[in-house]
Protein backbone atom coordinates (compact mmCIF):
# COMPACT_ATOMS: atom_id res chain seq x y z
CA UNK A 1 0.00 0.00 0.00
CA UNK A 2 1.07 3.58 -0.61
CA UNK A 3 1.78 5.65 2.47
CA UNK A 4 2.60 9.37 2.44
CA UNK A 5 4.25 11.09 5.36
CA UNK A 6 6.98 13.54 6.25
CA UNK A 7 10.41 12.28 7.28
CA UNK A 8 12.81 14.80 8.80
CA UNK A 9 11.09 17.67 7.05
CA UNK A 10 10.81 15.99 3.64
CA UNK A 11 7.53 14.80 2.09
CA UNK A 12 7.86 11.21 0.99
CA UNK A 13 5.65 8.47 -0.38
CA UNK A 14 6.53 4.82 0.12
CA UNK A 15 5.12 1.54 -1.11
CA UNK A 16 5.11 -1.02 1.70
CA UNK A 17 3.18 -4.06 2.87
CA UNK A 18 0.78 -3.39 5.72
CA UNK A 19 2.75 -5.53 8.15
CA UNK A 20 6.00 -3.56 7.78
CA UNK A 21 7.14 -1.94 11.02
CA UNK A 22 8.21 1.71 10.80
CA UNK A 23 11.55 0.67 12.31
CA UNK A 24 12.29 -1.68 9.42
CA UNK A 25 11.12 0.84 6.82
CA UNK A 26 13.43 3.49 8.27
CA UNK A 27 16.51 1.29 8.59
CA UNK A 28 16.23 -1.11 5.66
CA UNK A 29 14.19 0.75 3.05
CA UNK A 30 15.19 4.34 3.73
CA UNK A 31 18.72 3.85 5.07
CA UNK A 32 18.13 5.73 8.33
CA UNK A 33 20.53 3.73 10.46
CA UNK A 34 20.50 6.01 13.49
CA UNK A 35 17.29 4.26 14.57
CA UNK A 36 18.39 1.03 16.26
CA UNK A 37 16.71 -2.35 16.55
CA UNK A 38 16.86 -3.72 20.09
CA UNK A 39 13.99 -5.71 21.56
CA UNK A 40 11.21 -5.18 18.97
CA UNK A 41 8.83 -5.15 21.94
CA UNK A 42 8.73 -1.45 22.79
CA UNK A 43 10.67 -2.02 25.99
CA UNK A 44 14.26 -0.95 25.25
CA UNK A 45 13.67 2.37 23.47
CA UNK A 46 16.58 1.97 21.03
CA UNK A 47 14.15 2.52 18.14
CA UNK A 48 12.60 5.71 19.56
CA UNK A 49 11.60 8.35 17.01
CA UNK A 50 9.29 11.35 17.15
CA UNK A 51 5.86 10.79 15.62
CA UNK A 52 4.05 14.11 15.29
CA UNK A 53 6.56 15.41 17.82
CA UNK A 54 5.95 12.70 20.43
CA UNK A 55 8.49 9.95 21.25
CA UNK A 56 7.30 6.49 20.25
CA UNK A 57 8.97 3.12 19.79
CA UNK A 58 9.01 2.60 16.03
CA UNK A 59 9.12 -1.19 16.36
CA UNK A 60 5.47 -1.10 17.37
CA UNK A 61 4.24 1.26 14.65
CA UNK A 62 3.03 -0.13 11.33
CA UNK A 63 3.94 1.92 8.26
CA UNK A 64 0.28 2.53 7.28
CA UNK A 65 -0.23 4.18 10.67
CA UNK A 66 2.09 7.11 9.83
CA UNK A 67 -0.07 8.32 6.94
CA UNK A 68 -0.15 12.10 7.00
CA UNK A 69 2.12 12.32 10.04
CA UNK A 70 5.65 13.62 10.65
CA UNK A 71 8.46 11.29 11.61
CA UNK A 72 11.64 12.79 13.06
CA UNK A 73 14.90 11.04 13.87
CA UNK A 74 18.12 12.52 15.31
CA UNK A 75 19.18 13.10 11.71
CA UNK A 76 16.42 15.68 11.33
CA UNK A 77 17.43 17.50 14.51
CA UNK A 78 21.14 17.89 13.85
CA UNK A 79 21.16 21.68 13.96
CA UNK A 80 18.43 22.11 16.55
CA UNK A 81 19.88 24.19 19.43
CA UNK A 82 18.56 21.80 22.11
CA UNK A 83 20.00 18.80 20.27
CA UNK A 84 23.37 20.54 19.78
CA UNK A 85 23.62 21.18 23.53
CA UNK A 86 22.53 17.60 24.33
CA UNK A 87 25.07 16.05 21.97
CA UNK A 88 27.82 18.23 23.40
CA UNK A 89 26.90 17.30 26.96
CA UNK A 90 26.67 13.57 26.14
CA UNK A 91 30.13 13.68 24.56
CA UNK A 92 31.78 15.75 27.29
CA UNK A 93 30.17 13.95 30.22
CA UNK A 94 31.05 10.44 29.09
CA UNK A 95 27.40 9.51 28.54
CA UNK A 96 28.23 7.37 25.50
CA UNK A 97 29.99 3.99 25.58
CA UNK A 98 28.85 1.67 22.82
CA UNK A 99 26.44 4.30 21.49
CA UNK A 100 23.58 1.92 20.75
CA UNK A 101 21.09 3.53 23.15
CA UNK A 102 22.27 7.04 22.32
CA UNK A 103 19.94 8.07 19.48
CA UNK A 104 16.91 6.92 21.50
CA UNK A 105 18.22 8.65 24.62
CA UNK A 106 18.71 11.85 22.64
CA UNK A 107 15.17 11.78 21.28
CA UNK A 108 13.67 11.20 24.73
CA UNK A 109 15.81 13.81 26.46
CA UNK A 110 15.28 16.29 23.61
CA UNK A 111 11.55 16.01 24.15
CA UNK A 112 12.00 16.53 27.88
CA UNK A 113 14.06 19.69 27.49
CA UNK A 114 11.67 21.15 24.93
CA UNK A 115 8.79 20.73 27.38
CA UNK A 116 10.63 21.23 30.67
CA UNK A 117 13.76 23.39 30.44
CA UNK A 118 14.69 22.88 34.10
CA UNK A 119 14.00 19.24 34.95
CA UNK A 120 14.69 17.64 38.30
CA UNK A 121 16.67 14.43 38.44
CA UNK A 122 13.45 12.47 38.93
CA UNK A 123 11.90 14.14 35.89
CA UNK A 124 14.95 13.19 33.83
CA UNK A 125 14.68 9.58 35.00
CA UNK A 126 11.00 9.45 34.03
CA UNK A 127 11.79 10.94 30.63
CA UNK A 128 14.24 8.14 29.88
CA UNK A 129 12.41 5.31 31.67
CA UNK A 130 11.64 3.81 28.28
CA UNK A 131 15.29 3.81 27.16
CA UNK A 132 17.62 1.10 28.40
CA UNK A 133 21.40 1.51 28.53
CA UNK A 134 23.45 -1.61 29.15
CA UNK A 135 26.82 0.14 29.35
CA UNK A 136 26.84 3.30 31.41
CA UNK A 137 24.61 2.56 34.38
CA UNK A 138 22.65 5.69 33.39
CA UNK A 139 24.43 8.05 35.83
CA UNK A 140 26.39 9.98 33.22
CA UNK A 141 23.42 10.08 30.88
CA UNK A 142 21.30 11.67 33.59
CA UNK A 143 24.11 14.10 34.42
CA UNK A 144 24.55 15.02 30.75
CA UNK A 145 20.87 15.80 30.35
CA UNK A 146 21.00 18.00 33.44
CA UNK A 147 24.11 19.74 32.13
CA UNK A 148 22.50 20.34 28.73
CA UNK A 149 19.48 21.89 30.46
CA UNK A 150 21.74 24.22 32.44
CA UNK A 151 23.66 25.26 29.37
CA UNK A 152 20.43 26.03 27.51
CA UNK A 153 19.26 28.32 30.29
CA UNK A 154 22.69 29.94 30.57
CA UNK A 155 22.33 31.34 27.06
Amino acid sequence: MKVSFQLNGQDIEVEAPGNRALLDLLRDDLGVKSVKKGCENGECGACTVLLDGAPVTSCLVLVPQVEGKTVTTVDGLEDDPFMVKLRQAFLEDGAIQCGFCTPGMLISSYTLLRENPDPTEDEIKIAIEGNICRCTGFTKIIAAIGDAAERMTDE
Partner: protein, 292 residues
Amino acid sequence: MNLIPDVEVHRPRSLEEALKFMELPDSKPIAGGTDLIIDLREGACEARNLVDLTQVKELDYIRETDGRIRIGAMTHHSDLVASDLIKSKAPVLSEAADLVGSIQIRNLGTVGGNICNASPGADTATPLLVLGAEATISSAEGNRTIPLSEFFTGPKRTSLNPGELLTELSFPTPPAGSGGAFQKLGRRKGCTLSLLNIAAYVELDGDTCSKARVAVGACAPTPVRIKDVEEMLKGKKIDDAVIGEASSACYGLVQPSQRAHSRASEEYRRDMSCVLMRRALTTALERARRNK
Protein backbone atom coordinates in the same frame (compact mmCIF):
# COMPACT_ATOMS: atom_id res chain seq x y z
CA MET B 1 14.16 -11.18 14.70
CA ASN B 2 10.44 -11.70 15.13
CA LEU B 3 8.46 -11.03 12.00
CA ILE B 4 4.93 -9.68 12.00
CA PRO B 5 2.79 -12.21 10.08
CA ASP B 6 1.27 -11.39 6.72
CA VAL B 7 -1.74 -9.31 7.74
CA GLU B 8 -3.99 -7.01 5.71
CA VAL B 9 -4.23 -3.53 7.20
CA HIS B 10 -7.44 -1.62 6.59
CA ARG B 11 -7.56 2.11 7.25
CA PRO B 12 -11.06 3.41 7.96
CA ARG B 13 -11.62 7.11 8.48
CA SER B 14 -14.87 6.76 10.41
CA LEU B 15 -16.42 4.44 12.96
CA GLU B 16 -18.96 3.33 10.37
CA GLU B 17 -16.18 2.31 7.98
CA ALA B 18 -14.29 0.63 10.80
CA LEU B 19 -17.31 -1.50 11.73
CA LYS B 20 -17.67 -2.63 8.12
CA PHE B 21 -14.03 -3.80 8.12
CA MET B 22 -14.60 -5.54 11.46
CA GLU B 23 -17.05 -7.84 9.63
CA LEU B 24 -14.12 -9.36 7.72
CA PRO B 25 -12.96 -12.81 8.85
CA ASP B 26 -10.27 -12.91 11.57
CA SER B 27 -10.52 -9.18 12.08
CA LYS B 28 -8.92 -7.30 14.97
CA PRO B 29 -8.70 -3.59 15.68
CA ILE B 30 -5.27 -2.02 16.12
CA ALA B 31 -4.68 1.23 17.97
CA GLY B 32 -1.20 1.84 19.42
CA GLY B 33 -0.17 -1.77 18.88
CA THR B 34 1.74 -1.86 22.17
CA ASP B 35 0.23 -5.25 23.04
CA LEU B 36 -1.01 -6.40 19.64
CA ILE B 37 2.26 -6.05 17.71
CA ILE B 38 4.04 -8.06 20.41
CA ASP B 39 1.35 -10.75 20.21
CA LEU B 40 1.59 -10.83 16.42
CA ARG B 41 5.37 -11.17 16.54
CA GLU B 42 5.10 -14.03 19.04
CA GLY B 43 2.44 -15.83 17.04
CA ALA B 44 -0.06 -15.34 19.87
CA CYS B 45 -2.59 -13.56 17.66
CA GLU B 46 -4.28 -15.23 14.72
CA ALA B 47 -5.85 -12.09 13.22
CA ARG B 48 -5.37 -11.61 9.51
CA ASN B 49 -7.37 -8.42 8.94
CA LEU B 50 -6.20 -5.54 11.08
CA VAL B 51 -8.53 -2.58 11.31
CA ASP B 52 -6.27 0.40 11.98
CA LEU B 53 -8.19 2.93 14.09
CA THR B 54 -5.48 5.63 13.92
CA GLN B 55 -7.54 7.81 11.55
CA VAL B 56 -10.89 7.33 13.33
CA LYS B 57 -10.75 10.70 15.09
CA GLU B 58 -14.33 10.47 16.31
CA LEU B 59 -13.17 7.89 18.90
CA ASP B 60 -10.50 10.20 20.33
CA TYR B 61 -12.07 12.49 22.95
CA ILE B 62 -12.39 13.29 26.63
CA ARG B 63 -15.52 15.21 27.51
CA GLU B 64 -18.06 15.80 30.25
CA THR B 65 -21.73 15.85 29.30
CA ASP B 66 -24.85 15.49 31.45
CA GLY B 67 -22.92 14.67 34.59
CA ARG B 68 -20.86 11.91 32.99
CA ILE B 69 -17.24 11.90 31.91
CA ARG B 70 -16.92 10.19 28.55
CA ILE B 71 -13.64 8.90 27.14
CA GLY B 72 -13.34 7.68 23.57
CA ALA B 73 -11.62 4.32 23.19
CA MET B 74 -8.86 5.82 21.05
CA THR B 75 -7.79 8.26 23.79
CA HIS B 76 -4.07 7.88 24.37
CA HIS B 77 -2.73 7.37 27.89
CA SER B 78 -0.63 10.53 27.42
CA ASP B 79 -3.84 12.51 26.82
CA LEU B 80 -5.43 11.15 30.00
CA VAL B 81 -2.29 12.23 31.85
CA ALA B 82 -2.48 15.75 30.38
CA SER B 83 -6.24 16.23 30.66
CA ASP B 84 -7.21 18.96 33.11
CA LEU B 85 -10.67 17.42 33.38
CA ILE B 86 -9.37 13.99 34.40
CA LYS B 87 -6.60 15.36 36.63
CA SER B 88 -9.05 17.51 38.55
CA LYS B 89 -12.14 15.28 38.66
CA ALA B 90 -10.74 11.72 38.44
CA PRO B 91 -7.04 11.74 39.33
CA VAL B 92 -7.17 8.02 40.12
CA LEU B 93 -7.35 7.50 36.35
CA SER B 94 -4.77 10.07 35.25
CA GLU B 95 -2.22 8.81 37.76
CA ALA B 96 -2.78 5.23 36.58
CA ALA B 97 -2.39 6.26 32.92
CA ASP B 98 0.86 7.98 33.92
CA LEU B 99 2.22 4.66 35.13
CA VAL B 100 1.48 2.65 31.99
CA GLY B 101 4.76 1.58 30.42
CA SER B 102 7.04 4.41 29.40
CA ILE B 103 6.51 7.78 27.71
CA GLN B 104 6.83 6.09 24.34
CA ILE B 105 4.20 3.51 25.28
CA ARG B 106 1.88 6.19 26.70
CA ASN B 107 2.12 8.13 23.42
CA LEU B 108 1.09 5.07 21.40
CA GLY B 109 -1.21 3.12 23.70
CA THR B 110 -4.89 3.87 24.22
CA VAL B 111 -7.27 3.29 27.11
CA GLY B 112 -9.50 1.25 24.77
CA GLY B 113 -6.59 -0.96 23.85
CA ASN B 114 -5.60 -1.37 27.50
CA ILE B 115 -9.15 -2.46 28.39
CA CYS B 116 -9.65 -4.73 25.35
CA ASN B 117 -6.28 -6.42 25.86
CA ALA B 118 -7.78 -7.25 29.26
CA SER B 119 -4.65 -8.18 31.11
CA PRO B 120 -5.63 -8.87 34.73
CA GLY B 121 -3.00 -6.23 35.59
CA ALA B 122 -4.23 -3.57 33.16
CA ASP B 123 -3.44 -0.26 34.83
CA THR B 124 -6.48 1.71 33.64
CA ALA B 125 -8.94 -1.08 34.49
CA THR B 126 -8.98 -0.82 38.28
CA PRO B 127 -9.45 2.99 38.31
CA LEU B 128 -12.31 2.71 35.83
CA LEU B 129 -13.90 -0.04 37.93
CA VAL B 130 -13.84 2.07 41.10
CA LEU B 131 -15.22 5.05 39.17
CA GLY B 132 -18.22 2.87 38.31
CA ALA B 133 -17.44 2.89 34.59
CA GLU B 134 -19.57 1.56 31.76
CA ALA B 135 -18.31 0.30 28.41
CA THR B 136 -20.10 1.22 25.18
CA ILE B 137 -19.68 -1.34 22.44
CA SER B 138 -20.62 -0.83 18.79
CA SER B 139 -21.15 -3.14 15.85
CA ALA B 140 -22.74 -2.88 12.43
CA GLU B 141 -25.99 -3.85 14.20
CA GLY B 142 -25.97 -1.09 16.81
CA ASN B 143 -24.67 -0.15 20.26
CA ARG B 144 -24.84 -1.70 23.70
CA THR B 145 -23.58 -0.47 27.06
CA ILE B 146 -22.55 -2.71 29.94
CA PRO B 147 -20.92 -2.20 33.34
CA LEU B 148 -17.16 -2.49 32.93
CA SER B 149 -17.16 -5.31 35.48
CA GLU B 150 -19.07 -7.42 32.92
CA PHE B 151 -16.56 -6.63 30.16
CA PHE B 152 -13.74 -8.78 31.55
CA THR B 153 -14.41 -12.53 31.40
CA GLY B 154 -10.96 -14.01 32.04
CA PRO B 155 -7.26 -13.36 31.55
CA LYS B 156 -7.03 -11.43 28.26
CA ARG B 157 -10.66 -12.34 27.50
CA THR B 158 -13.57 -9.98 27.08
CA SER B 159 -17.25 -10.21 26.33
CA LEU B 160 -16.77 -8.58 22.92
CA ASN B 161 -18.45 -10.53 20.11
CA PRO B 162 -16.80 -10.89 16.69
CA GLY B 163 -17.25 -7.66 14.73
CA GLU B 164 -17.70 -5.51 17.86
CA LEU B 165 -15.58 -2.54 18.86
CA LEU B 166 -15.29 -0.91 22.27
CA THR B 167 -16.01 2.75 21.50
CA GLU B 168 -16.38 4.57 24.82
CA LEU B 169 -15.73 4.33 28.53
CA SER B 170 -17.83 6.58 30.75
CA PHE B 171 -18.53 7.15 34.42
CA PRO B 172 -20.54 9.58 36.56
CA THR B 173 -18.57 12.75 37.33
CA PRO B 174 -17.23 12.17 40.84
CA PRO B 175 -19.03 14.59 43.20
CA ALA B 176 -17.62 16.98 45.78
CA GLY B 177 -16.44 15.04 48.83
CA SER B 178 -15.11 12.17 46.73
CA GLY B 179 -11.52 11.03 46.31
CA GLY B 180 -9.71 8.24 44.51
CA ALA B 181 -6.14 6.97 44.34
CA PHE B 182 -4.08 4.39 42.46
CA GLN B 183 -1.08 2.36 43.59
CA LYS B 184 1.07 0.15 41.39
CA LEU B 185 3.74 -2.40 42.21
CA GLY B 186 6.14 -3.42 39.50
CA ARG B 187 9.57 -4.96 39.21
CA ARG B 188 10.91 -1.46 38.91
CA LYS B 189 9.52 2.07 39.13
CA GLY B 190 9.36 2.79 35.43
CA CYS B 191 8.34 1.01 32.24
CA THR B 192 7.06 -2.05 34.02
CA LEU B 193 4.02 -4.30 34.05
CA SER B 194 1.89 -4.43 37.19
CA LEU B 195 2.71 -7.23 39.60
CA LEU B 196 -0.22 -5.82 41.51
CA ASN B 197 -2.23 -2.65 41.40
CA ILE B 198 -4.94 -1.19 43.59
CA ALA B 199 -7.48 1.55 42.96
CA ALA B 200 -9.59 3.00 45.75
CA TYR B 201 -12.48 5.48 45.67
CA VAL B 202 -14.51 6.91 48.54
CA GLU B 203 -17.32 9.42 48.88
CA LEU B 204 -17.69 11.27 52.17
CA ASP B 205 -20.93 12.53 53.67
CA GLY B 206 -19.59 14.81 56.41
CA ASP B 207 -17.08 12.55 58.13
CA THR B 208 -18.80 9.32 57.18
CA CYS B 209 -17.98 7.23 54.16
CA SER B 210 -21.14 6.95 52.10
CA LYS B 211 -19.61 5.04 49.20
CA ALA B 212 -16.47 2.94 48.90
CA ARG B 213 -15.13 1.06 45.93
CA VAL B 214 -11.81 -0.73 45.78
CA ALA B 215 -10.37 -2.86 43.01
CA VAL B 216 -7.27 -5.00 42.61
CA GLY B 217 -5.35 -5.90 39.47
CA ALA B 218 -3.13 -8.89 38.76
CA CYS B 219 -4.56 -10.76 41.73
CA ALA B 220 -7.36 -12.64 39.99
CA PRO B 221 -8.21 -13.83 36.47
CA THR B 222 -9.58 -10.32 35.80
CA PRO B 223 -9.35 -6.91 37.46
CA VAL B 224 -11.92 -7.11 40.29
CA ARG B 225 -13.65 -5.17 43.01
CA ILE B 226 -13.14 -6.41 46.56
CA LYS B 227 -16.65 -6.15 48.02
CA ASP B 228 -15.66 -7.38 51.50
CA VAL B 229 -13.19 -4.52 51.90
CA GLU B 230 -15.81 -2.05 50.62
CA GLU B 231 -18.25 -3.25 53.30
CA MET B 232 -15.65 -2.54 55.98
CA LEU B 233 -15.53 1.09 54.91
CA LYS B 234 -19.14 1.99 54.11
CA GLY B 235 -21.01 3.90 56.79
CA LYS B 236 -17.91 4.32 58.91
CA LYS B 237 -15.86 7.32 59.96
CA ILE B 238 -12.67 6.35 58.20
CA ASP B 239 -9.61 6.73 60.36
CA ASP B 240 -6.23 5.00 60.47
CA ALA B 241 -7.67 2.08 62.42
CA VAL B 242 -10.42 1.47 59.88
CA ILE B 243 -7.94 1.75 57.01
CA GLY B 244 -5.56 -0.61 58.82
CA GLU B 245 -8.28 -3.21 59.31
CA ALA B 246 -9.48 -2.98 55.72
CA SER B 247 -5.93 -3.23 54.41
CA SER B 248 -5.01 -6.27 56.51
CA ALA B 249 -8.13 -8.02 55.28
CA CYS B 250 -6.75 -7.93 51.74
CA TYR B 251 -4.25 -10.65 52.63
CA GLY B 252 -6.93 -13.31 52.68
CA LEU B 253 -9.28 -11.74 50.14
CA VAL B 254 -7.07 -11.39 47.07
CA GLN B 255 -6.63 -14.43 44.82
CA PRO B 256 -3.19 -14.17 43.24
CA SER B 257 -2.06 -16.82 40.84
CA GLN B 258 -0.33 -19.79 42.40
CA ARG B 259 1.55 -20.68 39.24
CA ALA B 260 5.25 -21.06 39.91
CA HIS B 261 6.23 -19.05 36.85
CA SER B 262 3.97 -16.04 37.39
CA ARG B 263 5.61 -12.66 37.82
CA ALA B 264 5.54 -12.66 41.60
CA SER B 265 4.84 -15.28 44.27
CA GLU B 266 1.37 -15.61 45.73
CA GLU B 267 2.74 -14.77 49.19
CA TYR B 268 4.37 -11.55 48.02
CA ARG B 269 1.25 -10.35 46.24
CA ARG B 270 -0.88 -11.07 49.32
CA ASP B 271 1.56 -9.14 51.52
CA MET B 272 1.84 -6.21 49.16
CA SER B 273 -1.89 -5.95 48.55
CA CYS B 274 -2.20 -4.85 52.20
CA VAL B 275 0.52 -2.21 51.78
CA LEU B 276 -0.88 -0.82 48.54
CA MET B 277 -4.44 -0.80 49.88
CA ARG B 278 -3.37 1.20 52.91
CA ARG B 279 -1.59 3.76 50.74
CA ALA B 280 -4.44 4.01 48.24
CA LEU B 281 -7.12 4.41 50.91
CA THR B 282 -5.09 7.02 52.81
CA THR B 283 -4.62 9.12 49.68
CA ALA B 284 -8.22 8.65 48.55
CA LEU B 285 -9.43 9.85 51.91
CA GLU B 286 -7.12 12.90 51.87
CA ARG B 287 -8.40 13.82 48.42
CA ALA B 288 -12.03 13.36 49.50
CA ARG B 289 -11.52 15.69 52.46
CA ARG B 290 -9.80 18.33 50.31
CA ASN B 291 -12.50 18.06 47.68
CA LYS B 292 -15.50 19.12 49.79
